[in-house]
């Protein structure tokens, strides 16, 4: 399974949204459940899934799901 698909699965589970609703442009503005608290849970779950560390600084430029996947892709290589 590729990084994007794995990110989609994690995202869908944490945010409790159907897989089909996870789009590249999904952001805290479009996904109701993507709040500060679920964001913390999402980051922890992605760190666990990919065995990576996501520092706070990474969040400065991540504005949507696409940005999140790009960041994980660079870290998970």
């Amino acid at each position: 399974m590729d990084v994007r698909q794995r990110c989609t699965n994690v995202f869908s589970k944490i945010m409790e949204v159907p897989l089909a609703e996870v789009k590249e442009e999904s952001s805290p503005g479009t996904i109701e459940s993507w709040d500060s608290l679920s964001h913390v849970q999402l980051i922890s779950a992605l760190e666990e899934e990919f065995k990576i560390e996501i520092p706070p600084e990474a969040g400065v430029d991540i504005e949507d799901f696409k940005g999140l996947v790009s960041f994980v892709e660079t870290q998970a290589q």
């Binding site: 503005g29 109701e32 709040d35 500060s36 608290l37 913390v40 520092p55 600084e57 400065v60």
Partner: protein
């Protein structure tokens, strides 16, 4: 509309520009944003016209018409189309019962978050840690209308690896869950885990630090940080000074005094955060500036003189919050000369103007405690 100078200003190292470099870029960014508000917010344009000021006026930032915080209580001032406002932030209700409100579109919200994060990371470090929050669990969730108290906590959570709340609601009265806090702090001490303990100033001191001190509890949390924000008025009434608060936090939590961080900010310019640095003073980042005005004449005062604090920033484009005169009293200490190494003006907030109402999340929240 694209705000190119503003984007460039935000992209720079947050405290990296010296006076000359900053003046040029900040001036351009303010011009872009002032023009935008002038063109898109009718009440602001009327105010500017009344003061015979227009974006074409070749004047310094001290001449940009400011809005007193009281104006944000009377109406939702907007420069963005109302249908694009997806979130409003309200200040803690004050002693007069009227809150300030600001409306955010997605662009402003994202920009404010970015600025807030850059300042927070600069002071707190680029490492996520357990966040022990002195508030109710519900203060961490999302709602369309966000209280300033909740907004502040949530904004800091991007630094969190895990979150725990240690305040409970006992039949409408709030109280500290001492056992939970004790167990979390003992665990952190045993694992040498560096945590963040976050609370509103009065709550942190009166309902946590003092309670732990009185019960003789103390911890060794070297490397952990104690973060607080909110009004000082109620602590002042109890004769608790910032120095006393730091000393007692060090006694109880076993942290270094440089790791007790006092944040300052206000709803009308949410996104702007002013933590105390390791030297105990506050810095203005690249994307902000500060002036001190005489409370009577409203003339700008020189460094070292106390007066009303005016804050300028171009980061809000959905509402005219770019120049706000607060009711907080303080002074500018210097510029580009702090021993901590950060550039920019340094300042100190010394209190509230005499006629000002009680304000600040901690002071207002305190009224809900048992």
């Amino acid at each position: 509309m694209s705000f190119e100078s503003l984007a460039e200003l935000i992209s720079k190292d947050v405290y990296g520009l010296d006076k000359t470099e900053k003046a040029k870029l900040f001036g351009k960014a303010m011009h872009e944003v002032c023009s935008f508000h002038y063109d898109h917010c009718e009440p602001y344009r009327k105010l500017c016209d009344k003061r015979a000021w227009s974006p074409q006026s070749q004047t310094g930032i001290d001449k940009i018409p400011y809005l007193p915080t009281s104006l944000f209580k009377h109406e939702l001032l907007l420069s963005a189309d109302e249908k694009n406002i997806f979130r409003t932030i309200s200040s803690s209700a004050t002693s007069t019962g009227i809150s300030s409100r600001v409306g955010l579109d997605k662009e402003t919200s994202a920009r404010q978050s970015k600025c807030f994060m850059k300042v927070a990371i600069n002071r707190l470090g680029n490492k996520r840690r357990r966040f022990i929050v002195l508030d109710l669990e519900e203060s961490l969730g999302r709602t369309k209308n966000v209280s300033a108290r909740s907004s502040t906590i949530r904004s800091l959570l991007f630094c969190a690896g895990k979150t725990d709340t240690v305040i409970k609601d006992n039949d409408g009265k709030l109280e500290l869950n001492v056992n939970k806090l004790d167990s979390l702090l003992q665990e952190a001490e045993a694992c040498k885990e560096e945590v963040f303990i976050f609370g509103f100033t009065f709550i942190l001191y009166a309902y946590c630090v003092k309670q732990l001190l009185n019960s003789g509890k103390s911890y060794k949390l070297n490397g952990s940080k104690v973060l607080h924000i909110g009004g000082w008025k109620k602590l002042e009434a109890q004769k608790v000074t910032p120095k006393k608060l730091i000393e007692d936090c060090c006694k109880v939590f076993g942290v270094n005094s440089k790791d007790v961080v006092d944040f300052y900010g206000f709803t009308e310019q949410s996104g702007m955060l002013y933590p105390t640095c390791e030297e105990g003073v506050r810095h203005v980042p690249n994307f902000g500036d500060i002036l001190v005005r005489d409370p009577i004449s409203l003339e700008v005062l020189p460094f070292g003189k106390q007066g009303l604090l005016e804050f300028l920033t171009p980061i809000q484009t959905s509402y005219p919050g770019h120049s706000v005169l607060t009711e907080d009293v303080g002074l500018i200490l210097g510029e580009d000369n702090c021993a901590c190494g950060r550039k920019g003006k340094t300042f100190k907030v010394v209190g509230r103007a005499k006629q000002a109402e009680v304000r600040g999340c901690g002071d207002i929240m305190a009224e809900k405690f048992a």
